[in-house]
Symmetry: C3
Amino acid sequence: MTDPVFEKLRVACDSGVVTVTIDNPPVNVLDAALMAELRLLLSTVRDDAGAKVIVFDSANPDFFKAHVDMSLIDEPHAFDAIAREVPAGLNVFQALGEMVRNLPQVTLVKLTGVARGGGAEFIAACDMTFAAIESAGLSQVEALMGIVPSGGAMQYLAARMSRNRVLEIILGAELFTAREAADYGWINRALPRSTLDQFVNTLAHNIARLPEGVTSAAKRVLPPADHMGGFLREEAEWARLFANPAAERLIRGALAAGAQTVDGERQMEALLRGLSSGHATTPSDKR
Amino acid sequence: MTDPVFEKLRVACDSGVVTVTIDNPPVNVLDAALMAELRLLLSTVRDDAGAKVIVFDSANPDFFKAHVDMSLIDEPHAFDAIAREVPAGLNVFQALGEMVRNLPQVTLVKLTGVARGGGAEFIAACDMTFAAIESAGLSQVEALMGIVPSGGAMQYLAARMSRNRVLEIILGAELFTAREAADYGWINRALPRSTLDQFVNTLAHNIARLPEGVTSAAKRVLPPADHMGGFLREEAEWARLFANPAAERLIRGALAAGAQTVDGERQMEALLRGLSSGHATTPSDKR
Amino acid sequence: MTDPVFEKLRVACDSGVVTVTIDNPPVNVLDAALMAELRLLLSTVRDDAGAKVIVFDSANPDFFKAHVDMSLIDEPHAFDAIAREVPAGLNVFQALGEMVRNLPQVTLVKLTGVARGGGAEFIAACDMTFAAIESAGLSQVEALMGIVPSGGAMQYLAARMSRNRVLEIILGAELFTAREAADYGWINRALPRSTLDQFVNTLAHNIARLPEGVTSAAKRVLPPADHMGGFLREEAEWARLFANPAAERLIRGALAAGAQTVDGERQMEALLRGLSSGHATTPSDKR
């Protein structure tokens, strides 16, 4: 793995621990280029016997991954090349999650900032997440754009908490703190930011040092759940909602109001909610 | 929906949020009349496109729903009319829960007081529950009456916590505080009573304002679990136990000792436990 | 049940509550003799209509069950006699767990000390566990011996928490405190040591006093999950890893370094990790 391949990822290896630092300024949106790099990285690392653990973090301490690039509404074919590569029955975001979930290595997320939408889904596809109490945040904001998540969020969340809490996350569409996320089982643990680095580093190296074969054996004893039925449902519902005028208007409105800038992303739920409530009763919202 | 139809429910609508306030003094027992009104309300509201969210609360801040009316032991045919209306394979309490679980709307419970037995089961059938730390309580007290819950409790609870904790709730038969219930995943959150109204009100209106179609899409992506096998098992076990002399003696004894009065219901577990332990070793308890 | 039958268990009965105190100094390893006594006890008590609740605790407040006897690496046939008695498709440790899980009685664990490996698996097979905040600990240390647990750990844990947290427990291989274990749903509750005795005693006797038939009915309404597929996977992976030179070297190394003594067991994870990291990169680890 040579770094120059990647423009939006920094990759470092140390004693079996591969640290992947996402660096896509200003707020690490998940755009087609970042996805292509992540796919390249994952398809390379899965066959690297020297890589035991992969730690994902962010070059921007405030944003892990903002969410999927909303400006793609003007580039509907941006993911076409990737879409041709993914397994039948999966969209490109589900396929990214499946690549992560089916790695033989253990994947850890060190979360100091916020991750929303497709960024939160990427995290939920990883094996373990540890987040800073003071600053981390997770949110599925799709409902405020008039759509449902379609990169696996409801499947992943329902595997770790009650449907009651999944519905609150999806329909309440608020930013969860690290403590709230840990209480709901969304993440493994919320930790003081001062200890987060050391905790994740120790865990990663402890796992990387395990005797040969233990990690992959454990993953075979407890394989990832099969979410295909849910993936198909969420893609169908997403496509139906995305075809509504409301979705396009909300996404364009959000971009115009500051989404994908640092300031706009700091209050993304409020920004979207403002747009949503202002238009919720206009006739064009009705189907 | 015109209020005069209901004697035990107060119904108010505001911007897509329907608030249903249960008012069946003195302690909101779930009797045949209250169930009939709830069924009428649910069958009406499910087709009301203007209703997006339903919030259930209580006119009595100390009691949400005491439990199923125990005096029905003298009116074994009280639910016969309803029983003829419900789907095959469901008893009337399971059928009430299924009506709630299959609504296209989102159902929220605002819990300031206690709910036991069938009242707790009704809450568990709703999508989300938020409870006051200082005053709310949940309990499945059926074991202390010599029976098991048969309105879905064990199915609903097993979908949100480990079997180990379900067995503690059912067989321990203690009143859980809001914090304990949140820790076990029985409810979504325990909140200070001073913030409960605003939290639930904000969430309800935020969901009601979501763009058209999002809520029902999310519910289709994550449909309610199928509990039919469990419903059949719990009804069979309930019927077998209810036929025992112990159940009748405990239910009559509890009524004589103050059940279904405000004072008796404040210490319902202790009241029942007194009866149960006093008789537990008499020959008539043995089968 | 007459006590003289047992050398490593103390058995006491009181009003339907059978207390089983494990006493296998110095650290309560699960050896063939202790397993034989546990099997005898369980096969006797399951037909004892007077026994309603079984409480497991330890004569040694610091150790509930250290783990499976590691010195058995020199006695590969120690469990042969038991293996001939167990149901097809189960190894002897899985079979012990299935005996516990299929009891008609309710099983409670009162945990003041630590339990690792097969000791932790035994606890996870019981219906409910209550642990002392100040002193209890749970750990699956098998990964540090170069193997995966094969007495049901991953199956039992995955039924009560997300896969994400199970992988952390198995691959992180750290000692969990009672609070951490309760937060993850590994146990029912973490309680102050000063209240643990009374809490478990009250719960046990409350359940024992329930009207006849309630406990077994509840267990029939919510039967134990079927883990046969997982049991087969974990046994296959365990056998493959146990055949590696690494496992034998780590187990012998641990015994030489103080495992199964009180001092060694106080820091068992550190003891094993020292051995593991020291050898992790030698060629003989590779397959």
